[in-house]
């Protein structure tokens, strides 16, 4: 009785092992069913989804104009303090002084890509970009200024 059970368990183990091996054998012989990709090699064809949150970007149009009014909603909504906006007073053509951004400092090293700054922005001046390869040799390269030199606020955006 004991022997029967003992050998029975051996046979059932081998049978269940073979069931599993049959499955792996199936995929071993069906190469078209394999879906893994090798990352650095597929870089040319790699397309990230549109909504992927990789970094904060500030789009500029062809006239080098952005839409940031310097209201600092993003700075207040950021949980990590990775945004710092330095504003200045700019004299308008009609003689009035108005608040405009001087530098839009983005600390990529502190950012967790939660996307709450983009959510808070009333003028959609900032968006989340798809770039995800951020490695740098030194930390100082991760501090970015998002508004381009010489850029100004787009007309009509308040």
């Amino acid at each position: 009785m004991f022997l029967k059970e003992y050998f029975g368990s051996i046979f059932s183990s081998i049978k269940s092992l073979l069931t599993g091996m049959k499955l792996t054998g199936y995929y071993f012989t069906h190469h078209n069913k394999i879906i893994t990709e090798e990352y650095p090699d597929n870089r040319a064809a790699l397309k990230m989804p549109e909504r992927f949150r990789g970094e904060v970007i500030m789009p500029h149009d062809e006239k080098n104009e952005h839409q940031c009014t310097g209201c600092q909603s993003c700075e207040l909504s950021c949980p990590n303090g990775s945004i710092k906006i330095i504003t200045k007073q700019e004299i308008q053509p009609d003689g009035k002084k108005k608040k405009r951004i001087d530098t839009w400092v983005y600390h990529l090293d502190m950012c967790t890509m939660c996307g709450m700054c983009v959510e808070a922005c009333p003028t959609t001046a900032i968006l989340m970009g798809n770039e995800f390869e951020h490695s740098q040799y030194e930390k100082k390269y991760l501090k970015k200024v998002l508004n381009k030199p010489g850029s100004r606020l787009k007309d009509g955006v308040e």
């Binding site: 059932s12 183990s13 599993g20 499955l23 879906i35 909504r51 909504s77 967790t112 959510e119």
Partner: protein, 373 residues
């Protein structure tokens, strides 16, 4: 006491070793101090604190819009449910009605992450017991789910999609088509899981009658989720205290009475099918309408205490908030499912061999960042 200082025989002739904090089978930085007699476990003592990030304390300096996002880093496989709990507690305090569309989308995404979490459990359970191949089969489906999360929410794990009042953005246009593809792929491949791991006699023998948690112990230790349901305790928050419209949905609470590791495996395998069943009910019936209820720019909760619980993939998550009427929580406490489930390990592993401890840890399915917070 430093690591290694206590690695010696004590007076009773027991050998004391440390499993972890850097051990592949603990899924993180959990340290278990184990007293052994030969290979038999006399006593297990979990030591925590290796990944403590003081999330509760940090929440006190965050606004009510911000404090939810960091909970994605607690139980990172149930990030949607954690965010949902934070959103729900704010909605409960403000008495905001969530739009029907947002509720349905929340449930779909939560069940998807539950499915993906159980798939990861399947993958790592095989890996812990020395079977590397099942890992890749589970990750094939998990990758498809993660791609949906990436396309819809913008991130694969730390989605931050649920905000107080609803959800952060609307769905992408081909969401329903993609979900149907994934569900079809999952259902077509479900039999492979049984063939490669669950039906394997060696795996079953490692699991059966190992680490038996009785119903009374599950209640006494505060276990929830699949761990308690495998011991015959009905504890599904979705059934008992429905939130976000779970009361309108047909699904079964999977309850088994074995209480051993094998029962915990079977509960999770059955829960995957239940999650698929829930998504299938909703995917063609997403109502039109708003995705977020109007809330003030700076949310201020009324003075008082608020508690909300949700069912994550591992059990009951409770969020407790004390508000002093300001724009940040006065005190924020998370009742995490993994912390209570961890306490079952010293209890149920007594008298088993050291190899069984790994099998028990695999089926309890711990996420260490959730234990320490």
């Amino acid at each position: 006491m430093l690591l290694g200082e206590e690695d010696h025989f004590n007076e009773e002739g027991e050998f004391v070793i440390n499993i972890g904090p850097q051990h592949p089978s603990t899924h993180g930085v959990l340290r278990l101090k184990v007293w052994l007699d030969g290979e038999t476990i006399k006593k297990v003592e979990p030591h925590l604190g290796y990944i403590h990030r003081s999330i509760e304390k940090m929440s006190e300096s965050f606004s009510y819009r911000q404090f939810g996002y960091i909970t994605s880093r607690m139980d990172y496989l149930s990030a949607h449910m954690n965010n949902q709990a934070c959103a729900l507690v704010v909605e409960k305090a403000l008495q905001v009605e969530v739009p029907a569309r947002a509720q349905v989308i929340r449930i779909i995404l939560c069940e998807l992450s539950r499915l993906s979490s159980h798939l990861l459990w399947f993958a790592s359970a095989g890996l812990d017991l020395g079977g590397v191949t099942p890992f890749f089969y589970a990750f094939r489906e998990r990758e498809a789910i993660n791609s949906i999360m990436e396309e819809t929410c913008g991130a694969r794990l730390t989605q931050n999609f649920m905000v107080p009042g609803g959800i952060i953005t609307d769905l992408q246009p081909d969401f329903q088509k993609r979900i149907k593809e994934v569900l079809k792929q999952f259902k077509d491949n479900y039999h492979e899981y049984n063939e490669i791991l669950i039906g394997n006699v060696i795996f079953q023998n490692r699991m059966k009658d190992v680490g038996v948690l009785t119903r009374e112990d599950a209640i006494a230790l505060g276990c929830t989720g699949p761990v308690a349901r495998a011991s015959g305790l009905s504890c599904d928050i979705r059934k008992h205290y429905p939130y976000d419209g779970y009361e309108k949905i047909q699904f079964d609470e999977v309850i088994l009475t074995g209480g051993d590791s094998w029962a915990r495996c079977e509960v999770r395998m059955a829960e995957m099918l239940q999650s698929v069943h829930i998504i299938e009910q909703l995917i063609d019936n997403i109502p039109e309408g708003d995705i977020v209820a109007k809330t003030k720019n700076v949310i201020k909760l009324p003075k008082g205490e608020f508690y909300q619980r949700v069912e994550t993939a591992r059990g009951e998550l409770g969020v407790y908030i004390v508000s002093d009427g300001g724009s940040t929580p006065y005190r924020c406490k998370y009742r995490s499912p993994n912390f209570s489930n961890l306490m079952a390990i010293p209890h149920i592993s007594k008298g088993h061999k050291i190899g069984d401890l790994i099998a028990i840890m695999a089926t309890i399915d711990l996420i260490i960042p959730d234990i320490d917070r």
